[in-house]
């Protein structure tokens, strides 16, 4: 049942989307081609492959790819496939290929940029259509690779807008992310969380700027934190509880947050906590000091004042500037998604800033955390409920029709607006139709 342009167009209304968008495997296949097969997708961070030969094998949509540091010092992104019999050349995960790739099946070798290097006993290939110079006999490179402040993206389409234009306003989050490092650069931590969500990938994107869910979905953690403080007679909420409890802010709090949406599906929401006052909190203060040393006081303050919660880079995932993480969102199937969570060190910042980011991630993002499981549960419930005939549409009515245009995007008139979701599906529709 191939979808016509009209049918796809009809799935997205200005204030709601058809539930089949989350449940139809056919649409998922189309997304793999028209979205993940075309747009810029985050592959990994530069610092994951510091030395020549280092690689990170991962997926873009349904494609196994390998990000590698080649002899030119640049990061390349190749399909993880040997052109001989098709074997994945490196296993999933991280490693070092050495000076070149060597396929484990028959030992064909490839330069780190994927170019054919050698096949054993070459004589047997002479006089045949085998041609070492043809891309048919190399590990193929993805059509386009670029990076923004160390964050490496790739696109499988040769044509299309360049990366900076694609990122648009979301660049400011990556900028602030890196600016928070006195040396202007960040370094990925050694390990990551990987969390399986039994729901469609788009559900996670919608949740990232969904300010209305926090109080309700996370009520058990909010209440537990409050009860703990009370039971233990603590004078103030320790940070590790505050980051749970803060979800319980009254609606008025959420309404005041700034929500900014950008073209191509991106957006961000204003920060919901200050990890600590730069005056009183010793970690924040020490961080501030290193920034002053690096940038001067004005700029340092400017950088730390740019307080954002989740930023969305549609199709890639979500950087969090204040707690230095990047949540990569990988669709696995129509009802299964992998969330991969990286934490970063800010180069030149005190180690405590990194430890605080680890702590935040352990407490909030770990699959064993107080917070994440409830999100996973409601996502799963959406996936299940949307199989039923209990209604055709998924609502995004909140503050629909009130969004204000800004340069390259829209801004919400209220922090509880469902603008980010509408913005995502607007982009989704464009992607799905453009490539039809």
């Amino acid at each position: 049942m191939p979808y016509s342009k009209e049918q796809i167009g009809a799935l997205v209304r200005p204030d709601s989307v058809n539930k089949s968008i989350y449940t139809d495997p056919e649409l998922f296949k189309l997304e793999m081609q028209r979205i993940y097969g075309r747009i810029w997708v985050y592959v990994g961070h530069d610092s994951q492959v510091p030395n020549v030969g280092d690689y990170h094998a991962t997926m873009i949509g349904d494609q196994d790819v390998v990000m590698v540091r080649a002899d030119d010092g640049k990061v390349h992104v190749l399909y993880n496939r040997c052109p001989h019999k098709g074997a994945m050349v490196v296993p999933e995960g991280n490693g070092c290929a050495g000076k070149f790739f060597r396929c484990p099946y028959h030992g064909w070798t490839f330069r780190l940029n994927g170019h054919h290097l050698a096949a054993p006993m070459k004589l047997g290939l002479e006089g045949t259509r085998f041609d070492p110079a043809s891309p048919e006999f190399s590990m193929r490179e993805l059509a386009r690779v670029d990076s923004y402040r160390g964050f490496v993206f790739a696109s499988q389409a040769a044509d299309g807008i360049p990366l900076p234009e694609f990122l648009g306003g979301a660049r400011s989050s990556l900028d602030n992310f890196c600016d928070r490092a006195p040396e202007g650069e960040v370094v990925a931590s050694k390990n990551v969380f990987r969390v399986i969500q039994r729901a469609n990938w788009k559900v996670f994107y919608e949740n990232l700027n969904d300010t209305m869910h926090a109080r309700v979905t996370h009520e058990s953690a909010i209440q537990a934190a409050r009860d703990e403080v009370k039971a233990e007679g603590l004078e103030q909420m320790p940070l590790r509880l505050h980051i749970m409890e803060n979800n319980g802010q009254p609606y008025e709090f959420w309404e005041k947050l700034k929500l900014v949406a950008f073209d191509h599906g991106h957006s961000y929401m204003e920060g919901i906590f200050d990890p600590g006052s730069i005056k009183k909190d010793p970690i924040s203060h020490a961080h501030y000091q290193t920034l002053i040393d690096a940038y001067g006081e004005k700029r340092a303050l400017e950088i730390l004042s740019e307080n954002r919660h989740n930023t969305i880079i549609y199709g890639s995932g979500s950087p969090h500037t204040v707690f230095q993480q990047f949540r990569i969102i990988r669709p696995l199937s129509v009802d299964r998604t992998l969330i991969e969570i990286q934490v970063f060190r800010l180069k030149g910042a005190p180690e405590e800033v990194y430890r605080r980011a680890l702590m935040y991630c352990n407490v909030i993002n770990s699959p064993a955390s107080a917070v994440m499981p409830d999100d996973l549960e409601v996502y799963f419930r959406c996936q299940m409920g949307n199989r039923t005939r209990g209604g055709e549409w998924v609502s995004q009515h909140r503050y629909a029709g009130t969004d204000k245009p800004i340069d390259g995007g829209l801004v919400a008139i209220n922090g509880t607006s469902e603008l980010p979701m509408r913005n995502q599906f607007n982009a989704w529709k464009q992607y799905m139709l453009a490539a039809a």
Binding site: S189, T217, Q223, E228, A368, A370, L376
Partner: protein, 178 residues
């Protein structure tokens, strides 16, 4: 706060071998079985009391992870986080526990490794935990080290480290302590 400050001795290598008498070994085994039973039967309060006030519960995220301070951990929980978890598990608004998870923890291969530099006893065991939720079985397996402080004729847990064989794998929600 132990979560971020490196004052706590999270090492699990014995610095000294010790020979424990048979009945002590027996009591240590029973201590571990008792702990498992409290968790199996959701007796959170009694379980919380098994700990020293500064005790830490650690599930590393990496193999042979050297420290909870330089990389992510699945759990690196102090007393506050342990209590909060138990409050949450009992909450009628913990959506991810509707339906609830149930688990059975089999503890075996109990071995006394020795003592650490503070004289704490290091007891190693293997844990296989089978967990059930929403018609699905989850299997968690790995090795455990308990760092124990003598407390009357029993012990308190100063550190519990669980190294899962799939510590670096992809997970759905992990609701229960092991």
């Amino acid at each position: 706060m132990m979560l971020m400050e490196e004052k706590f001795d999270y090492s699990t290598e014995a610095t000294k071998r010790v020979a424990v008498p048979a009945d002590t070994y027996q009591q240590l085994s029973q201590f571990l079985y008792h702990e498992a039973r409290l968790l199996d039967t959701r007796q959170w309060d009694a379980w919380l009391k098994l700990w020293t006030p500064d005790g830490m519960y650690w599930i590393p995220r990496s193999r042979d992870q050297q420290s909870p301070y330089d990389a992510l951990s699945l759990c690196w929980d102090d007393d506050v986080l342990r209590r909060v978890r138990m409050r949450i598990l009992d909450s009628p608004r913990r959506w991810s526990q509707q339906p609830r998870s149930y688990a059975s923890r089999l503890i075996g291969n109990v071995t006394v490794d020795g003592t650490d530099s503070d004289g704490c006893l290091l007891v190693r065991s293997v844990i296989h935990m089978t967990e059930w939720r929403r018609e699905t079985m989850f299997h968690r397996a790995g090795s455990c080290v308990h760092k124990l402080v003598a407390d009357g004729d029993s012990w308190k847990i100063k550190l519990k480290r669980v190294d899962l064989i799939d510590c670096d794998g992809a997970y759905e929600a992990i609701e229960l302590y092991m």
